[in-house]
Symmetry: C2
Subunit: 235 residues, 2 copies
């Protein structure tokens, strides 16, 4: 059974969340059950880009990850799109036998048995500004499937006050999960250079809200890859 892969790239550093700064090879799956209005990876989501996705066996994906990393173990991040709509179990098995670690980023809309084989599961429920509505029963299934084996964390993107209020309530459902917040990035044009001051202003806004509200369970982080490379792909 083959995988639909949008891109494989790295090693670079993970730009956000619990593994921020960690050398990583990204395997970006093609296809998504969501259509967030501010999606920063539409080339891996919209089937209009399907001709750019490759059908690859788990072994072929693994061979490419190994080549990029020189056979030296690091963290492989399964991202997308939503990687959970495909079966990454065989790829994870190949990688773990070579000593690599696996992280997966998903919105938590589809639960998979292979979640239990991960080292890190990042569940990223989407706030109102996305235009999507979280199915909390499906989200619970993701936690059940993970069986508390991987380090499981919440990551919530926040664009505005409505998202912020929603994030407080969503995070309140899972007080035991480590929580990472990041400001949304509304500037997605890969042709335009990113306004660094605007990025840091958005981070500052979120830091000030979190500290003013004494929301001390939250960690507030930027997207380092946006600060470093703007919206360029493959880094």
């Amino acid at each position: 059974m083959s995988l639909r892969i949008s891109e494989i790239f790295g090693p670079t550093i993970q730009g956000e969340g619990v593994l921020i700064g960690a050398p990583t090879v990204f395997v970006r799956a093609g296809g998504c059950d969501y259509r967030c209005v501010w999606c920063d990876s539409m080339h891996a989501v919209d089937t209009a880009y399907r001709h750019q996705w490759q059908k690859m066996s788990a072994q072929a994906v693994w061979d490419e990850v190994r080549a990029l990393s020189g056979g030296q173990p690091l963290t492989v991040s399964l991202s997308g799109g939503n990687p959970a709509i495909q079966d990454f179990g065989p790829l994870i098995a190949l990688g773990k036998s070579d000593g690599y670690r696996f992280a997966c980023e998903t919105q938590g809309s589809v639960a998979r048995q292979w979640f239990a084989e991960l080292d890190t599961l990042v569940l990223s429920p989407k706030p109102p500004s996305s235009g999507e509505v979280v199915d909390w029963a499906a989200f619970e299934s993701c936690l059940t499937m993970a069986q508390a084996r991987p380090e499981t964390v919440l990551k919530i993107v926040i664009f505005d006050e409505t998202d912020y209020a929603w994030a407080r309530e969503a995070a309140g459902r899972y007080p035991d999960l480590p929580l990472y917040l990041q400001p949304g990035n509304p500037d997605l044009d890969p042709q335009q250079s990113v306004d660094l001051a605007a990025c840091t202003d958005r981070l500052l806004w979120l830091v000030e809200k979190v500290t003013a509200d004494r929301w001390f369970a939250a960690r507030v982080l930027p997207q380092l890859h946006v600060l470093l490379w703007g919206n360029k792909r493959g880094v």
Copy 2:
């Protein structure tokens, strides 16, 4: 016995290292056994600033941390200067009884029994560009004193190629300690606004070196507080 305190401020976010993004109150100790040429906190190091330091009891420090945080537990970071030249044991005992967590940042030149009471110990051996020379026997004593009770991590600041080569060797001594690298910040004037592009360029330089060398044990992070506030004090 009183503590020499340069400043107490927060809540803000931790700007660097293993706790990056975490809401934190900083207790900055006055006094240091080092004089790193690029020190970003000389106001807490040079005795020329001693008149700005306050002699405070552990209870008085604790009262101020509690007031700043509204009595709601978060991480207290003991920084400096070198906090290890003073006795923070009584402060930690007060804070832990209120449910707070403690981190300490030190170069690892002076070992203290209270290291074992911390939640996080950040040991930051200084590279050649600092003008200081690491006493590895003293550094080992810090690890011994911590008794593997706190999460203990290495953080190394890197200004240039010489520092980078040194960091590889230094980190190689402690393969079991999580490792955080950050580019040095040569622009320290609090009156000048920080050049964001220069900051991200330095980060990019370090990311590219680490990934090219497949130094996958390292995590590479910026100083978020510099991106957000430049070299302003008290944030």
